[in-house]
Amino acid sequence: MRPSKSARALTLCLLIVIFCRVQAPVEAQRLDLAVAPPNIELLIKPGVRMRVPFTITNRSDEISLIPLIKTFAILGDGKSVEYGSAEGLPIKASFYDEKSELIKSITIKNGEVKKIFVDLNVPSSISERDYSLAFIVETQPELLDKQYSARIKTQIASSILVTITKSGKTQAKGTIDVFKVARNIVDSFDSVPITLHVINQGKNVVYAGGAITVRGSLGEKVIYPLESHNILSHSGRLMVTKLSKDEFSIVLKGFFIGRYSVSAAVTLADDTVQLSRSTKFFAFPFKIISVAILGSLIGLILLRNKR
């Protein structure tokens, strides 16, 4: 007995439904989230409470997110980041939705844009310095009952730099701790890598800029502007130019001959503090000289043999 047309149609519909149900969790694995603003700098007086709005946009399936505040630091090796617990922090954070209701999590549908307000409560007794924080929203994917499975929690974070000051004045204090040419004597055709590293010794973030100037013995002079970057309190930063490569601030290329003086002029906090340091290198055409001498010697030997 052959199944009727309606039975076949019903089976097909069932298969489509089953297929869609099977596909659904796979779709749910995709994630597309945005946070705005991606960073914010705050200058707050002790004893003040302020509210910072953040916008979360979800372009993936409906998702549940947990808001968090963490301390944020880039570690000395430059390869690691530390997101620390904010429990011991004097600044206390709480999260509110658009109806000003205290929230511990938020659900956002596909295509929805929602606001999360972060209330920062700064106590009067807090010490005047910078606090590096991160406002994080964290996804909560399910754990699967498979033999070996891992879920990926995604944290999208907006960095918050809080400067606590009573007067509105902040401190710019820095030093050039490294300014050196990789080798002081180079071949004329070699590239010349230069390192410029600046340390912020103050208790507040500073913006550093300036230039590296190279002067040749024949009077030529080239200025390489430094890209402006901030340096967090009690941390250091490699200053970079458009010719930076790897761990070097600048890699000079071309033909060099004679003595070159290289000077670094670094400005902190819009020229409030000016730092400078200089070094030098010598370039000689060692390779050409070596080839010429070798060529002459070979020529001499050949001529002697000919005679």
Binding site: D32, Q147, Q155, S276, I289, A292
Partner: protein, 245 residues
């Protein structure tokens, strides 16, 4: 023969004249022609000033009205990330796959699972992407799958240093298009830092991201040790994307 001697003479002259050329800079300062006078003035600025300190007003970094706002409200706020024409700035993160199932993992066969992260921002915003593992793969009895040390026991891989991993056991990852780390070889892997509520994460990207975005392809590899107990092993990996300060 004359040509050879001429060649030797020219090279000798070049070599002996180099120190003279090098010294010309100093002589030039003393000549004080218009060109070198400038150099001389510049040199006076070159008195090395390696350290400096000053207190400065917030208006220099937060704008001219900031001091007034600060006095009246008790705070000022600014976002330094450039905005687009609609005056909106954002950090957008897309993850292709948030569930990894290592269904072929056993002693003989390693199991590899992939996911990709795409970051989008506005006007070359500096971002950091970091990764860590909340805890090791663990079953309900507490048995674990350890992180990989890679193949060379005398020089093992670490959470910030990738090494070749072809034969050893454990769990690790590699990244294509990473700006941090040593993932040049397709066999270069690193273990993950561990910790959930707080702790270190290893950077896998640090650099500028614009409207076109930056895509990172992550490859996670699992090969359990031969003595691993049977059971359901689960783990949580945390990927964090944030703006660089």
């Amino acid at each position: 023969m004359r040509l050879v001697w001429l060649n030797v003479f020219i090279v000798s002259c070049m070599a002996s004249s180099l120190p003279l050329v090098a010294r010309m800079d100093v002589d030039a300062q003393q000549l004080q022609s218009p060109r070198y006078r400038i150099e001389s003035e510049s040199l006076s600025l070159q008195q090395d000033l390696e350290q400096g300190s000053a207190n400065y007003d917030i208006s220099s970094s937060f704008g001219p009205q900031s001091q007034k706002q600060f006095e009246s409200r008790g705070y000022v706020a600014v976002s330094r990330v450039k905005t687009d024409s609609s005056d909106r700035s954002y950090l957008r993160l897309q993850l292709s796959n948030s569930q990894l199932v290592f269904d072929k993992a056993d002693i003989v066969d390693e199991s590899i699972q992939k996911t990709s992260v795409k970051l989008t921002g506005i006007s070359a915003t500096p971002f950091i992407v970091a990764v860590r593992q909340a805890e090791q793969f663990k079953n309900s009895f507490g048995a674990t799958v350890m992180s990989t040390n890679c193949d060379d026991k005398s020089s093992p891989c670490t959470p910030t240093l990738a090494r070749e991993w072809k034969t050893g056991f454990g769990f690790g990852y590699r990244v294509d298009r990473s700006t941090v780390g040593e993932f040049s070889s397709k066999y270069a892997f690193r273990p993950l830092y561990q910790g959930y509520s707080s702790g270190k994460s290893a950077m896998i990207f640090r650099g500028d991201v614009n409207k076109d975005g930056q895509k990172l392809d992550l490859e996670f590899k699992l090969r359990p040790q031969p003595q691993t107990q049977t059971g359901i092993y689960q783990s949580t990996i945390i990927i964090t994307a944030t703006t660089d300060f």
